[in-house]
């Protein structure tokens, strides 16, 4: 047989997969490894989806997505952050942010173009860059700096082939929120070196200490804004996201989308319309709940001796596990075997994630408390016995 696609074949499977398999085998596992809300989609929104099905909204929509939904998204971004996007030609609905990321990179990159990726970062960034023919270029961020992106470090990595910088704020896996100064420095760099900024803002509503800054307000001409409904509205399985971008970029995104995806699911788009139409109480209540759990969980991590940078957004804590003397993969494996608590090793998200584990606090409070108890026991025990250290 002839060889398959080299780039895809060379891409390693996600490091998360292994933990999924182990965790799925046991029924006593408390999983802090889940990257999605523990809320079910608010009933109001689900009911709108049912209504859409009952009334036969089972067809394609226009390629760019339901006009009503695009209108609502642009109005919401304007009301919330002051971003000014035209729903007619600067916004399209995607099948989740995942598709949006893929479209954005395919549209921006020519073969060999480089994209700078501050890490630790979401696991899909580098593979998607590679699949689009680009070359991911990692730059480290440090937990001592709260994982803030240092524009000088980014600039040092810029070459004539650099096309874009890709990052998320608030971030998966660190929960870090980029401070305004970092974002403004990045924007100045992008303007100086003529770079695009691909801004993954799927966690925009989940910020706790500071107001979210939408990059589309700082650099609308060179930002490709990726957003969606999965996290704030607890709609992961509906697969609805959006891209807001300068007209030339949005137009080409629609072009790829119309041939590869055609449109996002009609029923899901109808549900998303409801999510943005009604009162915001559901989202506010969920965010307040995450915030309370965040406070309890982060305090608990520190009390059991794990240093933990303050996560200002998303629903992840990214504590340092260096005091255990283990690397993050060993720590996660041993913790899962010994105490049945699933966390994700930080190394999965890039070399700067080594020494940390990602813990999702999108889990019921009693389970978080039980997980902390088990982790405490694990840290006190002679957990290094099994690998002979």
């Amino acid at each position: 047989m002839k060889p398959l696609n080299d780039v895809i074949a060379a891409c390693p499977p996600s490091g998360i997969r292994k933990f999924f398999d182990i965790a799925a085998e046991r029924d006593d596992v408390i999983s802090l490894g889940v990257g999605e809300p523990d809320f079910v989609t608010p009933w109001r929104v689900r009911e709108a989806g049912i209504y859409a099905l009952e009334h036969g909204y089972t067809t394609y929509t226009s390629n760019a997505g339901l006009p009503k939904l695009r209108e609502l998204i642009c109005a919401d971004l304007n009301k919330r952050y002051g971003a000014e996007y035209s729903w007619t030609d600067e916004c399209l609905i995607t099948t989740g942010v995942s598709e949006g990321l893929d479209l954005a990179l395919r549209v921006l990159l020519n073969p060999g173009d480089e994209v700078i990726v501050p890490e630790p970062c979401y696991v899909a960034y580098e593979p998607c860059i590679a699949f689009a023919g680009g070359v991911p270029v990692r730059v480290p961020t440090r937990w001592e700096d709260g994982f803030a992106v240092d524009a000088a470090v980014v600039e040092a990595a810029v070459t004539p082939r650099t096309k874009a910088v890709l990052f998320g704020s608030p971030a998966n896996p660190t929960g870090a929120v980029q401070p305004r100064a970092s974002l403004e420095a990045l924007v100045r760099l992008a303007e100086r070196r003529d770079l695009y900024l691909v801004s993954d803002e799927i966690y925009d509503r989940l910020t706790y200490d500071t107001a979210h800054i939408c990059l589309g307000t700082l650099a609308p001409d060179r930002t490709v804004l990726l957003g969606g409904f999965s996290k704030a509205h607890a709609m992961t399985g509906w697969r609805v996201g959006y891209i807001c971008a300068p007209r030339a970029v949005a137009e080409l995104c629609v072009r790829v989308h119309q041939y590869t995806m055609l449109c996002a699911p009609h029923v899901s788009q109808m549900a998303a319309v409801e999510a943005l139409s009604g009162p915001d109480d559901d989202v506010t209540a969920m965010v307040a709940d995450y915030d309370r759990r965040r406070r309890v969980f982060v305090k608990g991590l520190r009390e059991i001796g794990l240093e933990c940078p303050e996560p200002g957004g998303a629903f992840y804590a990214f504590p340092s596990i260096r005091s255990s003397g283990m690397d993050s993969a060993t720590f996660a494996e041993e913790l899962l075997h010994a105490e049945g608590v699933a966390v994700v090793p930080g190394s999965v998200f890039g070399p700067s994630g080594e020494g940390h584990v990602r813990c999702s606090y999108a889990t019921a409070l009693p389970l978080l408390e039980e997980a902390l108890t088990r982790m405490d026991r694990f840290l006190r025990s002679d957990h290094r016995g099994s690998d002979g250290q």
Partner: protein, 163 residues
């Protein structure tokens, strides 16, 4: 501080320490505030939300619940208050509301059997002065009570580890 009341209303087992962490306030202040609410009666008491249908014990100890709508002739000076107050004093009566519509009061009454509740209505409730009529609705099944859904469990469908 209102947030603490809302949290306790949802889960009274939260400790002052946890509440203090959740709301980013000193634990001593939280403790003092809760004590003040308990003294003033803002917090009346703490109790469990029990789904009796899920309790698999002696079936003869089953509880019957009924909603009773009561029509009353109001009296000058007191309106409905005196009759409502008399009704509320019975242990069998779990709640009493003055409501708009064709009836005046809506009460919740519980008893060990349908017969016991019927007897209560016919002998105690209906015979109170100025009670004109009653309409009794026995509860057949509870789907949701005070914000707690009892019949629509939604299991966690999430995969154990996701990116």
């Amino acid at each position: 501080m209102r947030q603490i009341l809302e949290l306790l209303e949802r889960d009274a087992t939260l400790t002052p320490e946890t509440l203090a962490t959740m709301t980013d306030q000193p634990v001593e202040e939280v403790r003092a505030q809760i004590a003040a609410w308990e003294r003033s009666g803002a917090i009346r008491r703490y109790r469990a939300v029990v789904d009796w249908d899920a309790v698999d014990d002696d079936p003869t100890r089953e509880t019957v619940t009924a909603f009773i709508d009561v029509s009353i002739t109001p009296a000058r000076g007191v309106g409905f208050d005196d009759v409502a107050g008399r009704i509320a004093r019975f242990d069998e009566v779990r709640s009493v509301y003055l409501v708009s519509g064709s009836q005046d009061l809506r009460c919740t009454v519980t008893g060990p059997t349908i017969r016991a509740v019927s007897d209560f209505v016919s002998q105690k409730l209906s015979t109170i002065d100025r009670v004109r009529s009653t309409a009794t609705h026995f509860v057949l099944k509870t789907y949701k009570r005070d914000g707690d859904a009892f019949r629509t469990d939604e299991p966690d469908h999430r995969l154990p580890v996701t990116p």
